[in-house]
Symmetry: C2
Subunit: 207 residues, 2 copies
C-alpha cells in the first residue's frame, strides 16, 4: 500500500528530469531526448504517460512547481501572527539555502513565466494561477497582521503583496544574471528594509 506503483514511479522520474531540463534550458529548448537519456527511459515510456511535450510541461508546472512554491513560500506563512517577521525569515532562509548553482538557474516559476507566457496561453494561465495563490497568501497574511496590530493599517494588502512577489522575483533575476552573491544579498537587504517599513512602529517606552 505504501509502495508506489512502478508506473507512477517512472512518471515521477520523467517529471523530475523534465523539471531539471526545463530549469536549465527553458521549456522550448528543453530536449526530450535529453530527458530520456537522463532517466534511461525511451520515447515509448514518455508518450505513454504524456500525450506530447506541452502536456509534460503543464504537468511539471501543475505538480512540481506549484508544490515547491506552496511548500516553501506559502505553508510557512499560515497561522503566523507576525507576517513581516515570517516573511523576513523566509527570505533569509532562502538566501542561505540557495546554492550558487541554484541562483544561476533562477526561479523555475519566473523562468517559465518570462519564457512561455507570451508564447503559450496554457502555460500562462497555469503560471498566473500560481502567482495569484502566492499573492493571495501574502495578502491574507498581511491582513491578519493588520488585524493583530503588527502591520500598518495604511498598507494595501493586495498591492503590497503583488509588489513583494514582483520584487522577490526581480531580485532573483538580477542575481541569476550577475553571478554575484553580494548583489542578491544587497537586493535582499533593501527588500527586507521595505518589508520592515510596513511594520507598525513599536510603542515608545515611557521613561
Amino acid at each position: 500500500m505504501f509502495t508506489a506503483r512502478k508506473s507512477d514511479q517512472t512518471r515521477e522520474l520523467l517529471l523530475r528530469a523534465a523539471f531539471d531540463e526545463i530549469h536549465r534550458n527553458g521549456f522550448q529548448a528543453a530536449s526530450l531526448s535529453k530527458i530520456l537519456a537522463d532517466t534511461g527511459l525511451t520515447k515509448g515510456a514518455l508518450y505513454h504517460h504524456f500525450p506530447n511535450k506541452t502536456a509534460l510541461g503543464y504537468a511539471v508546472v501543475d505538480e512540481l512547481v506549484t508544490n515547491e512554491i506552496t511548500q516553501r513560500w506559502l505553508a510557512p506563512l499560515e497561522n503566523q501572527d507576525d507576517p513581516i517577521t515570517a516573511l523576513r525569515t523566509l527570505l533569509q532562509e532562502a538566501g542561505k539555502s540557495l546554492r550558487p548553482a541554484d541562483i544561476m538557474l533562477g526561479c523555475p516559476l519566473n523562468n517559465l513565466a518570462q519564457e512561455m507566457s507570451p508564447v503559450d496561453e496554457g502555460f500562462r494561465e497555469r503560471i498566473n494561477h500560481i502567482y495569484n495563490v502566492w499573492r493571495g497568501g501574502i495578502a491574507q497574511a498581511l491582513m491578519r497582521g493588520q488585524a493583530n496590530g503588527t502591520v500598518r493599517t495604511d498598507v494595501h494588502p493586495g498591492e503590497t503583496a503583488a509588489f513583494l512577489v514582483a520584487a522577490m522575483e526581480g531580485c532573483m533575476g538580477m542575481a541569476k544574471n550577475a553571478h554575484d552573491p553580494d548583489l542578491l544579498f544587497n537586493c535582499g537587504k533593501s527588500l527586507i528594509g521595505y518589508l520592515e517599513s510596513l511594520r507598525v512602529a513599536p510603542k515608545p517606552r515611557v521613561r
Copy 2:
C-alpha cells in the same frame, strides 16, 4: 553623406527584425528563417553581415538593447537635481507609453537575461554590463540627490539602485504574465511609494 550606405541599411533591417523575433520568442527559439522572411532577405545576406546566429544576437544586445535602455532610462536622469522625482516621472511615463502588447512581451533585456544568462556566457556578460551601467547611473543620481539634500543620506546608493532596477524588472515580469494592466499599475504604485520613502522629509513649517 546623409544617406546611409545600403549595406548598412540591410544590416539595420536584419538587426531590427532579429530584435522583434527574439523579443517575441526568445533567442534560442528565434528562427533565422522567420527573420529572413520578415525582411525579404536571404541566408546570403544574413551570413554576409553576421558570422552566425549568436553574433547576430550579440549585436542586437550591444546595439539595440543597450541603446534603448540608455536612452529611455539613463539619459533622462543625467543633470537632474531631484533624482526621485525624475525616476518617478520616468516610471509614470513608461507606464503610460507601454501598449498592452508591449507589456505582454516584457522587457527585452530582462527576457534575454532570464533565458540566456545560464546558457551563454557571452550573452550574460553583455547583459550584465548593461545592468551595471543602469545601476551605476541610478546610484550616481541618488548620490547627487544626497549631495543637494533631496535624498536621505542614510540610503545606500548602490544597494538601492540595484533594488530599484530589480523591482522594476520584477514588476514588468509580473505584468507580462498577468495580462492585467491593473497589476502593473498597482506594482508601480508600491514601487513609487518605496521611491518616495527615500526622499528627505520636507522641513516642517514653523507656525
